[in-house]
């Protein structure tokens, strides 16, 4: 997968590059709009990450160029301008997603995977974990022939996010940012993730022990999966 990173903050661009390279993407980086425009015109990408706040270029113009020269690329807008108007315009102009800064790299990765699933029309995404089958598309968990119906929407979100980032320790902060990120409230630390995980284990344990859901002492949680 080829990714073009257009970001004028070099430090951030660098971190994006490291992260995506670690996850087997091939990356190109542009620090300004002019060079990005050239790259868009000459190379083909699967993903284009566009920062709207470029000093020399309107990010939305780059988006238009990308739609013209790279019609198959998925465009994700990254911006510190979280104005509603920008979001609407960006999505109107054909952006596939919109991530306001500051965002978690894990969140970026999960958005990219979601777009990929959409684009390549993967009908069913089913994961086998211990005795459980987890259908990420239909959001159902089954154990043998029985469906596990007691899992709530939030709990499923949590499991799905851990599965998406399998074999990686996710911190409570990362998990709570994912499942409560859209809510603006004045809690800066949430230990409610522990309560959620406890509930998930209790509910799944009725059917089979969910050994794959591991607690990493002092750090967070992870889903262990053989690849």
């Amino acid at each position: 997968m080829n990714v073009l990173i257009i970001e004028d903050e070099e430090a951030l661009a660098h971190e994006l590059e490291i992260f995506l390279t670690n996850h087997n993407y091939v990356t190109d980086v542009c620090y300004n709009g002019r060079s990005a425009s050239e790259k868009i015109g000459t190379s083909l990408y699967d993903f284009i990450l566009i920062d709207l706040g470029l000093p020399d270029y309107d990010g939305l113009d780059l988006l238009k160029e990308a739609k013209k020269n790279n019609p198959d690329a998925a465009c994700i807008i990254l911006t510190a301008r979280a104005e509603v108007y920008d979001r609407v315009r960006g999505l109107d102009l054909g952006a596939d997603d919109y991530l306001p800064k500051p965002f978690s790299l894990l969140e970026l990765q999960s958005r990219m995977q979601a777009i990929m699933r959409r684009k390549f029309g993967l009908k069913q995404s089913i994961v086998e974990l211990g005795d459980f089958l987890i259908n990420l598309t239909d959001r159902v968990i089954t154990c043998g022939d029985t469906a596990v119906s007691s899992i709530t929407k939030k709990e499923f979100d949590l499991i799905a996010y851990l599965i998406l980032h399998k074999n990686r320790t996710l911190t409570r902060t990362q998990l709570s940012e994912h499942i409560w990120g859209s809510v603006i409230n004045d809690d800066y630390d949430s230990n409610y993730i522990d309560a959620h995980v406890k509930n998930i284990r209790k509910k799944l344990n009725v059917y089979a022990p969910p050994d794959w859901l591991e607690t990493v002492r002092g750090l967070g949680y992870k889903v262990k999966m053989n690849t």
Binding site: G53, P102, T173
Partner: protein, 443 residues
């Protein structure tokens, strides 16, 4: 009391005092005037009589052989008597009121008595005028004077009323349009109040200048918060990415990872504060559309889904007693969701274990009222005025992980939707937040 009322009252009272004074004084005055007029008249008559007696002698008045002569006008309103004064050395020259019996009628007269000598004889002259005739002329005089006064007073009252009304109208207009009609901190454009009174002109322009100053300060504060939070987003983003990338490195030992995690937590706190401030400034700059239609009970169910784990943590009962058909229109769903989320979240945070939270609705004067009642620790009276202030933290909430922006978000979302909030609380028993939704957002 309004200035106009005060002036009118003063006006009426002062006029009343004048009327009362007049009513009390006029009879006395008129009596005195007519008395001195009568007295003058009597003296003139006396002088005339003495003149006549001097030239023609007294015989005309006292027939020969008589010692006494009296002359009455037919209706006895005036008389003149002259007699031989037999008391030696008697002397009189005065005017006084006395009763006289005249043909069986007792009549009160104003009487001039005068003694004089003529041909070695002493005479006593009396000239009298009936008092009744005096009163007869003074009463209509009094009435006329009184009538004229009343008419004049009424005229001046009307004139005063008209004038104060006219002269105070600009003041009323200034108060109505510049002070009462203004919604803080949103002011309309400046419209000059027309007046020729320089004090009012000064007042008008001063109020306007003050409003402009306040508005400019507000605008600056909003811009500053908006810019500052925007500017903070990129550095926070860089730090967050760096920490996340480091956390994934295999070669970092767990002890360092724990410290990275602490950094992540603290960064997250900074991020939450910045995001919240940005949200508040966006709401205050009216960057949200109000086009959504939502059922309150469904929305609260969504809040419940988000928050159920926190309710369970304290074993709280959460009752949403709202009919399905209570629907809001022309609102922003994201904001209204956050409004309820924060209120319910507070009701959880400051609740006791095994406590309860109840949400009810009622209709009142075309408004919709949503009550959020909790059995929590309550708010003390001295803290109450400050609960909507940014970054205000109270001693009792110190153990909570909050930075004091929950209620300020609630406040700005409510203001944006013209929702009024009333808070009732009893310390240690619980709080009740009353949201009053205006008719314009109720379906």
């Amino acid at each position: 009391m309004k200035l106009k009322t005060k002036l009118t009252l003063f006006n009426a009272i002062s006029k009343l005092v004048i009327v009362v004074l007049f009513v009390l004084l006029v009879p006395v005055l008129i009596k005195n005037i007519s008395r001195s007029y009568v007295d003058n008249n009597l003296i003139k008559q006396k002088n005339k009589f003495l003149q006549i007696v001097k030239t023609r002698g007294i015989k005309n008045y006292i027939p020969d052989g008589e010692t006494y002569g009296s002359y009455y006008l037919p209706l006895k309103e005036e008389y003149l008597t002259i007699e031989n004064d037999t008391v030696p050395g008697h002397f009189a020259d005065n005017i006084k009121n006395e009763r006289r019996l005249v043909e069986r009628d007792t009549i009160e007269y104003r009487i001039l008595s005068h003694t004089f000598k003529l041909n070695n004889k002493q005479y006593l002259l009396e000239i009298g005028k009936s008092i009744a005739t005096l009163d007869e002329t003074s009463t209509p005089l009094q009435n006329i004077a009184f009538g004229v006064l009343v008419i004049m007073i009424l005229l001046t009252i009307l004139a005063d009323l008209f004038y104060t009304n006219r002269v105070l109208r600009p003041l009323g207009l200034i108060i109505k349009t510049k002070l009462i009609g203004q919604k803080f901190p949103k002011f309309g454009s400046y419209k000059e109040v027309k007046t020729s009174t320089s004090d009012f002109q000064y007042l008008d322009i001063s109020i306007h200048q003050m409003i402009e100053t306040i508005e400019a300060a507000f605008q600056k504060e909003r811009e500053f918060i908006s810019n500052a939070s925007h500017e903070l987003m990129t550095p926070i983003s860089i730090l967050q990415s760096k920490i996340e990338n480091m956390f994934e490195r295999e070669d970092i030992v767990d002890e360092l990872k724990v410290r990275l995690l602490e950094m992540q937590k603290i960064l997250n706190r900074l991020k939450s504060i910045t995001k919240t401030l940005l949200l508040i400034s966006q709401i205050e700059n009216e960057q949200f559309l109000k086009e959504d239609k939502i059922s309150i009970s469904e929305l609260l169910q969504e809040v419940n889904d988000e928050i159920s784990v926190r309710l369970a943590d304290k074993n709280l009962t959460f009752d949403i007693l709202i009919p399905q058909d209570v629907v809001l229109v022309n609102v922003n769903k994201f904001l209204i969701f956050n409004l309820f989320f924060n209120l319910v979240n507070n009701a959880i945070k400051y609740n006791k274990v095994d406590g309860e939270i109840v949400i009810t609705t009622e209709h009142e004067n075309g408004n919709l009222i949503v009550n959020i009642t909790d059995s929590g620790i309550g708010i003390s009276t001295e803290d109450m005025p400050f609960i909507f202030n940014r970054f205000k933290k109270f001693r009792q909430s110190m153990q909570q992980d909050s930075f004091g922006l929950g209620l300020p978000i609630v406040k700005s979302i409510a203001t944006f939707h013209h929702i009024k909030i009333e808070v009732d609380s009893v310390k240690d028993l619980g709080s009740n937040f009353r949201l009053i939704f205006p008719a314009e957002v109720i379906e």
